[in-house]
Symmetry: none
Subunit: 123 residues, 4 copies
């Protein structure tokens, strides 16, 4: 069963999108494995303090992307293969790095300073 312990909700983006991102990151990082069970709408909704429909929307979109399999009355589970995992991971990494670069550029930092900062923070 997927754990949502590390999930932190912010107000910047839609909740259902944050759930999608959390699960995608989990899959990309290997923390969430194929055929792993996901919490039901109600369980996750009460865990996050949101409406079950918000969770439903996230799950539905993940299902449309082929990352989840749902069967009415049964538990839903993750359905990804290795190639898909790698594809998702590559896309997420590029997005994260691009966003960070843009923010730092905007704050007037130089490339050299940025790299030094990354090196320092990595430890």
């Amino acid at each position: 069963m997927i754990s949502f312990d590390g999930f932190i909700m912010n107000e910047k983006s839609p909740i259902y999108m944050q759930i999608i991102q959390y699960i995608k990151r989990g899959i990309a990082s290997g923390a969430i494995k194929n055929q792993e069970e996901i919490p039901s709408r109600r369980v996750l909704a009460s865990l996050l303090g949101v409406n079950p429909n918000t969770v439903q929307k996230a799950y539905h979109m993940l299902e449309e992307e082929g990352l989840i399999e749902s069967r009415s009355g049964a538990k839903s589970c993750i359905a990804v293969d290795e190639a898909l995992v790698e594809q998702i991971r590559a896309k997420l990494i590029e997005n994260d790095a691009t966003a960070a670069v843009n923010l730092m550029k905007q704050l007037g930092i130089t490339k050299a300073e940025a790299i030094r900062l990354i090196e320092k923070l990595w430890e």
Copy 2:
């Protein structure tokens, strides 16, 4: 006159909020100086390809926060105390970089790969 060259719009948050964030970050980075002029609603709206009302909303909220003031029809930007600006800037940079580092670590990327990625994306 404030430049909006580095402004990149996303669809995740309201546009007026993105404009506010951009100006706040500009002040923090020192790119926007005290008493510097800001584009009129119409000019910025046509520059960003959005509705003048959207720009108006952003300016109005900045005005309420005391970061902008009207002066005989034209608007100008008020920067806060220099030392404070630098302090805020350092904090923002560290936050951004830390967030990026954490996200990339979570996806299982190595430090060397991360730095190579940053260099490539910086142009």
Copy 3:
């Protein structure tokens, strides 16, 4: 034993409601007679390809309306007074036919076309 041969399921209303309507119409038409036996939940469920609980819900509501009664484990169907049944039937037929006529008139079909269509669809 009540026959469900003519039962056609649609997706517009709840299944249990369709079962209730079918039995009520059967009583009105005289196709279902007083004290006639109804299929058990399981038999009807497998016949219609639905969940036994769905049939159970329909039977329960019919029982509350006094149209069905339990008798030593088996269920039987209670028809109301003969004259009343005929009266209800005439009214239902007229309603159905009037509704169909109005809909088709509204769509600009001629009487002759309508009759030809009915003949064709009747088989």
Copy 4:
């Protein structure tokens, strides 16, 4: 502007579906013409006493079927050509007639009686 004077809401099917049916029937019967303006979400919602979102759902599905054109900030209007109108009309007529035939069959009426009834009710 499309009139909803003759619209009567029932509880048997979803409200948004009834709105769709009403508009489709209007198009099929010629009562609603191409390029005709449709009421805004709010106007129709307050007219029918339902939530604007329910109207929105109906309009959205009609748009997906290519029967409506929406432009943000502007009025929406009907967008159908002759061939499409005839296609919709044929489909609706068949559905209505089939439903009527099934209901009457279920009430134990004969084909001859049904046709006599239709003829009588048509006047």
